[in-house]
Amino acid sequence: MRISLADPATLRTRVEEMGLLWGLVGLVALLSLLPIGRLVVEGLAPGGQLSATALGKVMASPATWTATWNSLTTAIAGTILATLIGATVALLATLTDIRARNAFTFCFVLPLMIAPQVTALAWLQLFGPSSTLLKLIGMAPPLGSRNPLYSREGIILLLGLQYAPLVFLTLRAGLRALPKELIEAGLAAGASPLTVLRTVVLPLMTPPLVAGIALCFVSSLGNFGIPAFLGIPGNFLVLPTLIYQRLAGLGPGVLSEVAILSLLIGVIAMVGILLQDVMLRRRDFRITTTSSAARPFELGRWRRPVEIGLWSFAILVLAMPFLGLLSTSLIPAFGVPLNAKTATLANYAYVLFEHAASRRAFVNSFLMSAGAATLIVLICVPLGYFIVWKKSRALRLLNLAAELPYAMPGVVLAIAAILLFLKPLPVVNVSLYNTIWIIVFAYLARFLVLGLRPVISGYLQIDRTLEEAAQIAGAGLPRRLVTIIFPLVAPAAVAGALLVFLTAFNELTVSALLWSSGAETLGVVVFSFEQGGDSTYASALAAVTVVVTIGLMASTSLFAQRLPQGVLPWRD
């Protein structure tokens, strides 16, 4: 006897799975391929006419290749630095017995919140002739001497500092899934803690480490704020600043050139991700035991020096730029020395109570970043499932495409969004243009990869039989996703969501072109203040933002008891 294909339960399962798969394919294509495709059209066929003029012009320009070389060297070196810092700190803060590690984790990820230009300015002041710190130790360079940070090395240093938390967060999520037996087995075999680290911990941590590195690389490649601040004075061009330069230069065909340059960044980013794929191939990183987290290594007499080192570092990267913000926000005008006589809260009063757009922007930015973070996690958990476990070929390609909107400068993505959504959507005839939704779209497209990388590394570390066991128990895919898979990848997913939230919250470049009245973002308002010469208001608003975000993050600890262990990166 033969049971027909239309066994209803089987059919329903298939429809559910296929529906979810193709829904995801469609969604990711919409978010990643569509804007890129529109840019390709703009680059190669402006106005519908196929033309290689812009392509030829870009390829023939020596500036293109100088910028490409500079982008590559700064991105690679910045990534190496960020990895060294982020990985070391993650290992120390997760595997050793340092005290107050939750507070430390908290402080270490916060600099992601502070806009790169604020960090850049703080560091310029630190190394410049007016540096209070250098004056204190009598090492301040003479007035007018060239700031050493205006250089390739300066850019690399700040990229490394800015993005170390990316490696830190992804690696920490991975380390917390490491069962104690594996470390104890190594120690029992007579290996020293350092040997265990090198031969057991780091090899098993390849997926999160590689994911963090990949994120760092793409972030460094696409960063505009730092090279804009440190590179322009030395005319040190990278691709994002070259693109901005072209855009400012106007002239006919500028969009085509900008589109082609952006695609160039995209290609470099994709090569990086392909390398990542090669590194992860044919190795097994799954952790099959289900025991509790590892007992920390005892640092013994090294504990205090390590703690001091870690905290001074955290203070250097967090407190310094933050103090810069704070001191500027408390003075009536830039350059006025801060003392008891000059200090004023007027800037705060203005941004909090008088300037309606600031408040609106705060609410908008909060809702949009939190919304984008939530949606991205909701997309990434099933997406990672199909990419890693189901090995869906279509999605593996889209996985690469997801890099593009993040790697290119935000202003270019914004232009792509304008090109796409200027006219009302076909069929439904609804226009997203000049609404908050075009920004949400751009956020989803741009930050998808920030959520996806940690989630994928999370999947690589989970033993799939956990899912198969649920399948055998009769649970369909939707139920498995909710009850089994989501809790298992939650630590990685939350790390991703946090990255998205923090990055989107102080984002400027995308919304600078897409905002409309009533849909201001924090970045737009801060930028407006800066542009009008009102750095004091800008600093006050940025300082409030940092404080409120710290408050929000701290408040999550209140309901942390109800979350699975290890989900919040700053809670052990």
Binding site: N235, V254, P332, A346, L513, G532, G533
Partner: protein, 333 residues
């Protein structure tokens, strides 16, 4: 606690409103929606539209405000997609307007009331009209040892390593300044070679120059007038001079986008900007109005005669690519 400029702003707005109420009523009041793209500082943009609405209460103004590059980027994309979103444009420099004019995107307004404006301040074809003068001079930290009076002072050894300026590669206004100054026989590229020898740094925009000079990171900066004076008024340790050779200027022109669906309202906006009321508003906001008869802002010392460096926009637009390339090689590493 210091009183903020905003308090004055509120009072000032009432004053402008009173001023406007006295303006002659328009025969057929235009109505509908008007979209303005502008790169004015936010408070100025808000005050300009508020005053305009007082004069034309039936027009609803939607505003998009961002940096010049961002505004032009958005507009270019919209033009490329075949649907410019703006009706009127109010941006920093005439060079960008020339580009748009070259792409046939601007609507000529022959009926614009340009009496009393200097011929150089608006386009001969009446497609764009300067609204104010924003000059570029030299700002210096009050702690600086020297007090510059001339552009060529910046080439002196005493200034070595202490100068910042906006990069013409990233700022349209700075690009105009570069081409205007290098076209002058008395300054020319020699000035910039001297700046290079003096290790001047080019930063992204005027805001960055202001910060570096106000904070003392650099002692001298090439900066727009109003930013220096506003900062000074609020207490920043900064002062400003118009160099004796003259100050290059941008005119913050206004223009109507050809595809506008509300031509009447767009023209009303241009009328307003060029009207005495509009010019007085610019003056009150701290700018030098394009119409000389309106007066000069209070921050200018009594009796100052501003010597604006003449500039041929068409020639500037033509020369700008080559000038920027030369600048880039000079100030490269």
């Amino acid at each position: 606690m210091t009183l903020t400029r905003r308090r004055f702003a509120a009072r000032g707005l009432m004053m402008t409103a009173a001023l406007l109420a006295a303006a002659p009523a328009v025969a057929q009041a235009p109505t509908g929606k008007l979209v303005l793209y502008t790169s004015q500082p936010e408070k100025d943009a808000a005050q300009t539209t508020a005053a305009f609405k007082k004069a034309y209460p039936n027009i609803e103004v939607d505003i998009f405000r961002s940096g010049t590059t961002e505004v032009m980027g958005k507009l270019s994309a919209e033009i490329s997609a075949g649907q410019p979103g703006a009706d009127v444009l109010l941006i920093a420099d005439a060079a960008s307007m020339e580009v748009l004019k070259g792409q046939n995107q601007l609507l000529a307004y022959p009926g614009a009331k340009t009496e009393g404006f200097q011929p150089g301040s608006f386009d001969a074809d009446k497609t764009y009209f300067g609204s104010k003068l924003i000059t570029t001079g030299i700002a210096y930290n009050t702690g600086a040892k020297e007090k510059p009076t001339s552009w060529t002072d910046l080439d002196k050894p005493a200034y070595k390593g202490q100068i910042s300026m906006p990069s013409p590669l990233y700022s349209g206004a700075a690009a105009i300044m570069l081409s205007t100054m290098t076209a002058r026989p008395d300054l020319g590229w020699k000035l910039f070679e001297g700046l290079k020898a003096n290790e001047a740094v080019a930063v992204r925009g005027n805001g960055a120059v202001l910060k570096s000079v106000a904070s003392g990171e650099k002692s001298y900066g090439v900066l727009v007038d109003f930013m220096a004076y506003n900062a000074k008024k609020q207490g920043s340790p900064i002062d400003f001079v118009f160099p004796k050779e003259g100050a290059p200027a941008v005119t913050e022109p206004v223009a109507i986008i050809k595809s506008t669906k509300n031509e009447a309202a767009a023209k009303a906006f241009v009328d307003f900007i060029l009207s005495d009321a509009g010019q007085k508003l610019a003056l009150w906001m701290g700018y030098i109005p394009a119409k000389p008869s309106i007066g000069i802002p209070s921050w200018l010392p009594e009796g100052t005669k501003i010597n604006v460096m003449a500039s041929d926009i068409a020639a500037v637009v033509k020369a700008t690519e080559a000038d920027k390339a030369r600048f880039a090689t000079m100030f490269g590493n």
